[in-house]
C-alpha cells in the first residue's frame, strides 16, 4: 500500500500543519512516511502545498505526480492540482471558499464547508483540522485516536484551549461526512 496526498491552500490556512499532523499520525500508526513541503520563493498570501506519502514499505519518492487524494482549501489550489489526481482518487474541498465545480468526473468529490464550520466552533483557524476529520473519515489512513494524539504532540507547546478546539474541529469534520453519506 502506498497512498500519496497533496494538501494545498493559501499560505496561513494551516496547510503545512495539516500535512505535518497527518505525517505524524501515520508515523505513530507504524507506517513509513515522508512529508515534503513546497519551499523557496513564496509570497505572503500566495499558495502553499505539501505532499504526504504513507506506505507499509520503504517510500521511493516523496513527490506525487499522480496523488491518490487532494485536500484543497482554496480555489487556485484546486485549479493547480485537480488534473494530477489519479483516476478513482478523491478531492476534499473546502466548499466555504471553493465555489467552482471541479473539472474531473473520474474522481470522488467531498465538499466540506470547513471555514464556516470552524467559525461556528469559535476559531476560523481550525478549518484545516475540520478538513482532516473529514479526510480521515473517508480514507481511514490513520485511526482518529492516533491522529489526535499526534496532533497534541505537534501542538504541544500551544495552550490547552487550542488543542481542545482542534479536537472539536476534528470531530465536527469527522461527523460531517458521516451525516452526508
Amino acid at each position: 500500500m502506498l497512498v500519496k496526498t497533496i494538501l494545498c491552500g493559501f499560505g496561513g490556512q494551516g496547510v503545512l500543519m495539516m500535512g505535518y499532523t497527518l505525517a505524524h499520525g501515520a508515523m505513530n500508526a507504524g507506517y513509513h512516511v515522508t512529508y515534503l513541503p513546497s519551499y523557496g520563493a513564496e509570497v505572503r498570501g500566495g499558495t502553499a502545498n505539501c505532499t504526504v506519502a504513507v506506505s507499509d514499505d520503504e517510500i521511493a519518492s516523496p513527490i506525487a505526480s499522480a496523488p491518490d487524494h487532494i485536500v484543497a482549501l482554496n480555489t487556485p489550489s484546486l485549479y493547480t492540482f485537480q488534473n494530477r489526481v489519479a483516476p478513482g482518487g478523491a478531492l476534499f474541498l473546502n466548499s466555504s471558499i471553493i465555489a467552482v465545480e471541479p473539472s474531473r468526473r473520474d474522481v470522488r468529490v467531498f465538499k466540506i464547508p470547513s471555514s464556516e464550520m470552524a467559525e461556528k466552533l469559535g476559531n476560523p483557524r481550525t478549518a484545516n483540522t475540520v478538513m482532516m476529520g473529514a479526510f480521515l473519515k473517508i480514507t481511514g489512513l490513520v485511526p482518529p485516536d492516533i491522529y489526535l494524539r499526534g496532533m497534541e504532540t505537534v501542538m504541544g507547546s500551544k495552550k490547552k484551549s487550542v488543542i481542545e478546539i482542534n479536537r472539536r474541529a476534528f470531530a465536527a469534520g469527522y461527523e460531517f461526512l458521516e451525516k452526508a453519506e
Binding site: 505535518y20 505525517a23 505524524h24 508515523m27 513509513h32 512516511v33 515522508t34 512529508y35 515534503l36 513541503p37 519551499y39 523557496g40 520563493a41 514499505d57 520503504e58 517510500i59 521511493a60 519518492s61 516523496p62 513527490i63 505526480s65
Partner: protein, 358 residues
C-alpha cells in the same frame, strides 16, 4: 530514543549537536536554511556551543578552520553556489589536516542555478573541489535516518583522519521530513596534541598550509596521499538491493537511489531481474565492490540527477568489463520512479543499446 518526525536539515543539526559539534558558522542559502536556523536555536542550549551567522561563506569556512584548530567539533553548511565559495577553506583544512564537517544540500546549477534538488556537484565533492592534491571523504545519504547516522559518523571520521568530511545531499533530502531514531553518539577520540590551546611552557605549535620548500611540500603531499590510501582501503560503504539474481544493475546514490529503488520494485513485479548498487561513500568510491558484481553481471545503468558525473567512477571501477548506460535529469528535475522504470525497460529490452548514450 523514540522515533521522531523531522526535516532533513534539522536532522543533521540535531545529529551534529548530539555528536558533540560545538561550533557552527554559516551563511543563509536555500534549500538548507533550516540547518543554520536549528543550530542558532539549539547550539546556545549546550555548554560551549557557538553559532555564528558569518558575513560570507568564505568567512564561515575559515571560522570553522579556526574553531577546529582550537579543538572544537565544527561544522558549516551551504548549498551549491555557497559550497563553491568555501572551496579555498576546504583546501586549507585538508592541507592543515584539520577535522571539520561540511554539508552541501545541492541545488540546480551551474551558476546561481535554482533552488531545486540536483546532483550536479559530484565532481566538485569527490575530486577535492579546491586546489591542490587532496581528497575529502564524501557521504551520499538517501534517507533522513542516514542523514542522522552519517552526520555522527562524519565527525568521527573527520577526527580519526584529521580531514574534512562532506555530507553531499540535495534540496529534497534537506526539505523532506521522515521518521528518525538518533543513535547514541560515540565518545570523541582524537589526538589532542595538535590542538591550539596555548603552548604554556612547551614548544610552540604551528598549523599551516604554506610550505614554501618544494621538497617539504612534496613530502607533505605524500603524507596526505598515504592517509587517503588508508581511507580508500578502509572506509568504503555501499548498499546492494536485489543484486543476487540481477541481469541489470542500476547504480545511483542519494535521492537518485530512492527513485531507482522505486523503479526496481515496479519492474520486479513484471518479472524483470534488476538490482541496485548504491554507493554510500562517494569518495572513497566502492570500486572493488562494484567490480565484483561485474564478474556475473554484464549490464549496468547509471542514473543521476546530473548530466553524468558518477558514471565516470563507474567506468573506472568496471574498466570495460561490462556495458554501462546512463540516464540523467539535471537542472533540479526529480523524475518519478515510473519515468525511470520506463527508461530501464527500454534499455533492458535491447541490452546492446546500453552504450547508446556515449
Amino acid at each position: 530514543m523514540n522515533k521522531v518526525l523531522m526535516q532533513g536539515n534539522k536532522v543533521i543539526g540535531e545529529a551534529a549537536i548530539r555528536a558533540g559539534c560545538r561550533f557552527y558558522a554559516g551563511y543563509p542559502i536555500t534549500p538548507q536554511n533550516e540547518l543554520p536556523e536549528y543550530m542558532a536555536e539549539n547550539l546556545r542550549k549546550v555548554a560551549g556551543g557557538v553559532f555564528i551567522q558569518s558575513e560570507s561563506e568564505i568567512a564561515a569556512i575559515h571560522m570553522v578552520a579556526g574553531a577546529s584548530a582550537a579543538g572544537a567539533r565544527s561544522m558549516t553548511s551551504s548549498s551549491s553556489p555557497g559550497i563553491s565559495l568555501k572551496q579555498e577553506g576546504i583546501s586549507s583544512l585538508a592541507a592543515c589536516e584539520l577535522p571539520a564537517v561540511i554539508v552541501n544540500m545541492m541545488r540546480g546549477g551551474p551558476g546561481l542555478g535554482n533552488i531545486c534538488p540536483s546532483q550536479g556537484d559530484y565532481f566538485q565533492a569527490t575530486r577535492g573541489g579546491g586546489h591542490g592534491d587532496y581528497r575529502t571523504i564524501v557521504f551520499g545519504p538517501a534517507t533522513a535516518q542516514e542523514l542522522a547516522d552519517l552526520t555522527m559518523d562524519a565527525f568521527d571520521l573527520a577526527d580519526e583522519y584529521r580531514t574534512p568530511v562532506m555530507i553531499l545531499a540535495d534540496g529534497m533530502m534537506g526539505q523532506m521530513m521522515e521518521p528518525v531514531v538518533f543513535k547514541a553518539a560515540k565518545p570523541r577520540i582524537y589526538p589532542e596534541s595538535y590542538v591550539m590551546k596555548g603552548a604554556g611552557t612547551g614548544k610552540s605549535k604551528i598549523i599551516r598550509g604554506l610550505i614554501l620548500d618544494p621538497l617539504d611540500m612534496e613530502e607533505h603531499n605524500w603524507t596526505l596521499d598515504r592517509k587517503y590510501q588508508v581511507i580508500s582501503g578502509k572506509e568504503t560503504r555501499h548498499e546492494q538491493y536485489k543484486t543476487e539474481d540481477a541481469e541489470l544493475i542500476l547504480v545511483a546514490y542519494g535521492t537518485g537511489a530512492r527513485i531507482a529503488k522505486g523503479a526496481i520494485k515496479r519492474l520486479r513485479e513484471t518479472g524483470l531481474r534488476i538490482g541496485l548498487f548504491r554507493p554510500i561513500t562517494l569518495w572513497p568510491f566502492p570500486t572493488n565492490e562494484l567490480r565484483d558484481l561485474a564478474k556475473k553481471i554484464e549490464n549496468f545503468l547509471v542514473f543521476e540527477m546530473s548530466t553524468g558525473q558518477m558514471v565516470e567512477d563507474v567506468r573506472l571501477a568496471l574498466q570495460g568489463r561490462a556495458r554501462i548506460g546512463f540516464h540523467g535529469r539535471p537542472g533540479g528535475v526529480v523524475p518519478t520512479p515510473v519515468e525511470l522504470a520506463n527508461v530501464v525497460l527500454r534499455k533492458y529490452d535491447r541490452k546492446e543499446g546500453l552504450t547508446d548514450y556515449y
